[in-house]
């Protein structure tokens, strides 16, 4: 345990004594997500900054939670490696802890996996002020329940993340994005067949154009791109989706996550990416969660909403969520009700 983590456990101990819940804050880049906790005292973890260990030949990176995602990306870049889930960096503000807690993955997700898929180990301080360590710095580890992956997307409700180990990947030798004008339904069909190509690493439909990114060895990427046709565009297009800048005019931004061939919101979506599986609604004027039946969920990324912003959960899963919250944070001190009013 570093001095800072000791300090953090002491702070949680005090919070517990005083029964004063906190709003955990990394870079503050994603405060818009989930229920507003502005009324709570912030708990800043940005001081937990720095790489603990980076072993390029092992494909393993161990880093403190307050480290900016941008710094990590730049470090990996010097060794020709990357975070394969392409997390948002949000003007350089996003931190590793926030990235894991929010569990947001970028354009590469369908082809390379999500944040949770690359987590090897996580250290946390629970609501009991205990500093615990799960997983480790090795790529395969099935000892004990997989608490590390459970923390991805837990929105700070289960513990303050202090350190994370990731699997990293070599960067492809070359990448190229092509855009081609297509009819919406034709584009969607194309997405399904493109999902079968080993060089495709991003796929979106926007403004009547189908965008495809090819990644791999220079020779093969150029050949595939040429065969696909259309015009070559810059990588900035994907960054503007991943960092949500493309949507900044929207007052209410909804993200819909569905099976690639789902019929939901095909026509209403301003942008469809993830090969069909992620759809973005800008100020739709209705609550899309009510229209989604099974197999998918909608989240109000930002916008006004008095109730919860995530798709409701119920039944056994809801009981399990409440039970897990009780185990990790029995006094509801860490980001209480951040995801749902229910816990």
């Amino acid at each position: 345990m570093t001095g800072l983590t000791v300090a953090l456990t002491n702070i949680i101990e005090q919070i517990k004594q005083a029964q004063q819940p906190v709003n955990i804050k990394g870079g503050g880049s994603k405060q818009f997500l989930g229920n507003d906790l502005g009324h709570l005292q912030p708990l800043a973890v940005q001081a937990l900054n720095g790489v603990v260990r980076y072993e390029p030949t092992e494909l393993v990176l161990q880093v403190q939670a307050g480290t900016p995602v941008q710094d990590v990306i730049e470090l990996l870049d010097t060794e020709g490696q990357m975070l394969a889930f392409e997390p948002p960096v949000f003007d350089g503000q996003a931190t590793i802890g926030g990235m894991v807690a929010a569990g947001i993955s970028g354009s590469r997700r369908p082809y390379s996996g999500a944040v949770r898929d690359y987590i090897l180990g996580v250290d946390i301080v629970t609501g009991l002020g205990e500093h615990l360590s799960f997983g480790g710095q090795v790529i395969k580890n099935v000892a004990g329940y997989d608490v590390s992956r459970l923390l991805a997307g837990s929105m700070g409700c289960l513990g303050v993340i202090t350190e994370v180990s990731f699997k990293v990947l070599p960067k492809p030798e070359f990448e190229q994005t092509q855009a081609i004008e297509l009819d919406r339904s034709v584009a969607l069909q194309q997405m399904f067949s493109l999902a079968r190509s080993s060089t495709v690493t991003a796929c979106a439909f926007y403004n009547n154009q189908l965008y495809i990114r090819f990644s791999g060895m220079l020779s093969s990427v150029q050949a595939e791109a040429a065969e696909f046709g259309g015009e070559t565009v810059g990588a900035g297009f994907w960054h503007s989706i991943d960092n949500l800048t493309l949507f900044k005019a929207a007052k209410n931004l909804w993200r819909i996550s569905v099976a690639p061939n789902s019929p939901h919101f095909v026509d209403e979506a301003v942008l469809i990416d993830w090969g069909g599986a992620q759809r973005w609604l800008l100020d739709p004027g209705f609550d899309p969660r009510e229209k989604l039946t099974q197999n998918g969920h909608a989240v109000l990324v930002w916008g006004s909403q008095t109730e919860d912003k995530f798709q409701p959960i119920e039944g056994v899963p809801l009981t399990l969520h409440k039970g897990l919250k009780k185990q990790f944070d029995p006094d509801a001190l860490l980001n209480p009700n951040k995801m749902y009013q229910a816990f």
């Binding site: 030949t57 092992e58 580890n141 459970l150 070599p170 998918g296 995530f310």
Partner: protein, 499 residues
Amino acid sequence: MESAEQFEKSSAEPDANCSPIEFEQQLRLVCAQVITDKARLRVYESDGLSVKRTLPRYVALPGTVTEVQAIVGLCFQYQVPLVARGAGTGLSGGAMPHAKGVLLSLARFNRILKVDQDNLLAHVEPGVTNLAISDAVKSLGLYYAPDPSSQIACTIGGNVAENSGGVHCLKYGLTVHNVRKLKIVSPEGELYEVGSEAYDSAGFDLLALLHGSEGMLGIVVEVVVQLLPQPKDIVVVLAGFDSVTVAGNTVGDIINAGLLPAGLEMMDKLAIGAAEAFVHAGYPVEAEALLIIELDGNQMEIDAQLEKLRAVLNEAGANPVRIARDEADRQQIWLGRKSAFPAVGRLAPDYFCMDGTIPRRELAEVLSQIALLADKYQLQVANVFHAGDGNLHPLILFDANNLSALHKAEQFGAEILTLCIAKGGTITGEHGVGVEKIDQMCLQFNEAELKLFHGIKAVFDTRGFLNPGKAIPTLNRCAEFGAMHIHAGNDKFSHLERF
């Protein structure tokens, strides 16, 4: 969290609250196929870890989810221990029965329910074998990526419960990376779903938590797996080395060259010899170590990668280097590796397969320590290694009919696991804890971490009757075991030797 006493109580083995005869009557009412005669129960007395055996009191073979729900509900009601079983190929005793309990076999759930080509998903029952999924979608140009060596026999339900890996997990991940959705029967007998056909779901990642939970949190009754397009082209390279250390370092060099092989395996001399004698894969028996490297992609990708790989192997002085592009040749190379366990098994009446994982930089050190331990215990050990991801499989040879040899082999294994933890690794990369490594859990996790595990168990299984006594040791057990939690890695005293 519960107090320590409460917690010890809740995680203790449940007490059945009705007589065995009454229970059997009730069980037969809800499930048509129940076995209670000793001869037929024998089939189920152990999993792949055959030194740990117990006869179950009942075996239930349900054929429908409703039957599963009723059986689980009944065990919940009467607090009768329940152990799920897929194919029983597990190597850590996870499916070892409980003497007073029900062994729930999912073997009859062997249907592939739906193949969804648009979304590249297959909906399957839990008793479907791993290989049957890939076979069923082969004609569509698809496959299911995780491929444990036991894939002809092991079930997808067992794969989920163990979070199984295979020789392709460096690039394609473990079971948890390739499953999108599960249907689970809760300990109360309620059916629920986690995950979805979308890439993510609302709320906590319960899907991840259920993977590798060794049948302790719920019964898997349906699995939706992600299918992948078959690679257009594959090449397998076999490279011999005259030193294990050089072979190990070459793995790092391959990664450094920016390559991410689909498979990256290593075998030592004893394993090479055993495999060669068993299946005649054309392995270089005089080599100290060999690497098997598989590259996949389209043809141009492979050509470019192969060029880089050749340069790395040359530089490392690998000899011989055999490049297999056609299917038969590739299969032959893989056959040697995939039959390594049974091949080594022919060298002695019994073997233990260890499963520790280490940071690869520690490989040379760990292998030489294992060799020293082999001397100390006077037992032979062959090493098979998922080199790309640091997962070691030392195979300890012994004769279980000789009690002292069995005991020595167990101690040898325990020392290897302790070594793995001390080197910053873990006691199990893919085979699970089960009963086999339960004491070593006390070394890997501290009291607070173990308590949280029990807390998680209690959230799912309030009565503690699903696979009781497995995977997570009680704090009392750790106290009796008497060893201290080893914190590997970066703590203040990491430079001190612990053993």
